[in-house]
């Protein structure tokens, strides 16, 4: 018996496709890159899609916008294997893996309640990043976040 294969989300003409997102993290990816419904782009999300390499994965497609790599690298905090495809006229014109930045500012909340960044001061959280395993060290209070980083997203 043959299984009929269908595309879960249709191809896009222009825009950005974020593939190989860790299963269940698509909504966090959208939060991190600051995609809001009000900006008018069509955004498609597929969650828990079967993947040869990953078992299950999420995919996000943003139509009509080519996001820059600096904006997208932040995704690596929660999905280090994510790949980015920039699409023009239905063709992939560039494809790359996200890369963890050396510094993360204003995306993750410090988990130390006594940290100055968790107060009324006009200061954004700031972390230096070490890779493999991912460890964030608060620039202000020195506390370390190494697990459940998605839980600390602002």
């Amino acid at each position: 018996m043959s299984v009929k294969k269908e595309l879960l989300v249709r191809p896009i003409e222009h825009g950005t496709v974020i593939d190989h997102i860790n299963a269940g993290q698509a909504l966090n990816v959208i939060r991190i890159i600051g995609i809001a419904g009000s900006m008018g782009s069509v955004v498609s999300i597929a969650m828990n899609v079967a993947s040869k390499e990953m078992g299950l994965k999420d995919i996000v497609k943003i139509e009509g916008r080519e996001l820059d790599s600096k904006q997208l690298d932040k995704i690596s905090l929660i999905s280090p294997d994510a790949t980015i495809n920039i699409i023009r006229n239905y063709d992939v014109i560039s494809k790359y893996n996200v890369e963890l930045p050396e510094e993360i500012i204003g995306i993750v909340r410090c988990n130390n309640p006594d940290c100055i960044t968790n107060s009324d001061e006009p200061v954004a959280s700031s972390f230096t990043v070490t890779k493999k395993p991912v460890i964030l060290r608060c620039k202000y209070c020195d506390h370390i976040i190494s697990e459940e980083i998605a839980e600390q997203l602002i």
């Binding site: 130390n112 006594d114 940290c115 100055i116 960044t117 107060s119 009324d120 001061e121 006009p122 200061v123 608060c138 620039k139 202000y140 209070c141 020195d142 506390h143």
Partner: protein
């Protein structure tokens, strides 16, 4: 403090030694045109007074906002705004604040140097420097055996001190009740830096083997039950009768204030060093001010 190199620390300690006669009262005009702002958001006796003494012994002067309740802080002004304003008044700012990382944030907003005089449970680098200076003056800094006693888990000042000591190749004994032991990641860091660490929960175990005994306060609020606190605090009380077999040149230090960790009978022994240690805060902080404000010796 963890990022300080040995060269940086040695430079401050050597300068402190040169400045000690001035700390004791010899007239000095090294920083006579300099104004130091003392911003203390939390109570402090020694740190505040010794910074004030340090700038004045160097011929400079100080300003402060007195009690926090009487300042703009009580009207809800942010630390960032206060720092922006005060950095236009003074040549350097000394800051103590209850939030960790406050001094680092202040330095982002300040046009003049900010000295961290304690940020909550965070860092207190000038305390570490004065502790090292005390050992240098009253004992020696290299190849000694030192015991750190008391709350080694939450007291981050003691963590900074241990990191700084590791630059000098000392042997460290960690003496604390099981619930207040030094966190594993700090112990691993210290071992990685090539020093020997031994742990025990009894002061008596180490008293005959050490050159420096560094006592700290065990805080009541770390214990769920008052009875548990009393039992632990009682077992970390040092009396003069315990010192009969101690090394002759043992020095006993304490950042003060003490509650009952060191019995008053110890004060009269040749080992007691904690009041000298308090004094050494003045030349050490003078050295920091001279370094930051580029005073000429």
């Amino acid at each position: 403090m963890k990022d300080f190199t040995r060269e940086m620390i040695d430079e401050v300690l050597e300068l402190a030694e040169k400045l000690e006669p001035f700390a004791r009262g010899r007239p000095c005009r090294m920083l006579e045109d300099k104004l130091l702002a003392l911003l203390f958001y939390e109570p402090s006796t020694r740190t505040r007074l010794s910074f004030d003494a340090a700038i004045k012994r160097l011929g400079g002067s100080s300003i402060d906002f007195g009690m926090v309740e009487a300042s703009s802080v009580s009207k809800g002004e942010t630390l960032a705004d206060t720092i922006r304003v005060v950095s236009e008044y003074a040549d350097a700012i000394v800051l103590r604040h209850p939030k960790e990382g406050a001094a680092r944030m202040a330095s982002d907003y300040s046009s003049v140097p900010v000295i961290n005089a304690g940020d909550g449970g965070g860092h207190h680098p000038t305390q570490t420097l004065l502790d090292l200076y005390t050992i240098k003056r009253e004992s020696k800094l290299e190849e000694i055996d030192i015991a750190l006693v008391g709350d080694l888990r939450y007291g981050r000042t003691v963590h900074s001190f241990a990191y700084a000591l590791s630059l000098y190749g000392v042997n460290i004994y960690l003496v604390s009740p099981p619930q207040l032991q030094m966190p594993q990641h700090i112990k691993s860091d210290l071992v990685h830096r090539g020093i020997t660490i031994r742990e025990t929960n009894s002061i008596e175990d180490v008293l005959e083997k050490i050159d420096v005994l560094y006592m700290t306060r065990i805080q009541k609020e770390r214990f769920a039950e008052q009875s548990e606190y009393l039992a632990v605090a009682g077992s970390y009380r040092l009396g003069s009768e315990m010192l009969s077999n101690a090394r002759e040149n043992l020095i006993i230090m304490h950042p003060l204030p003490r509650v009952n960790e060191i019995d008053a009978s110890v004060d009269a022994t040749s080992h007691a060093c904690y009041f000298k240690q308090s004094f050494y805060g003045v030349p050490t902080r003078m050295a920091v001010l001279v370094k930051l404000l580029e005073g000429k010796i």
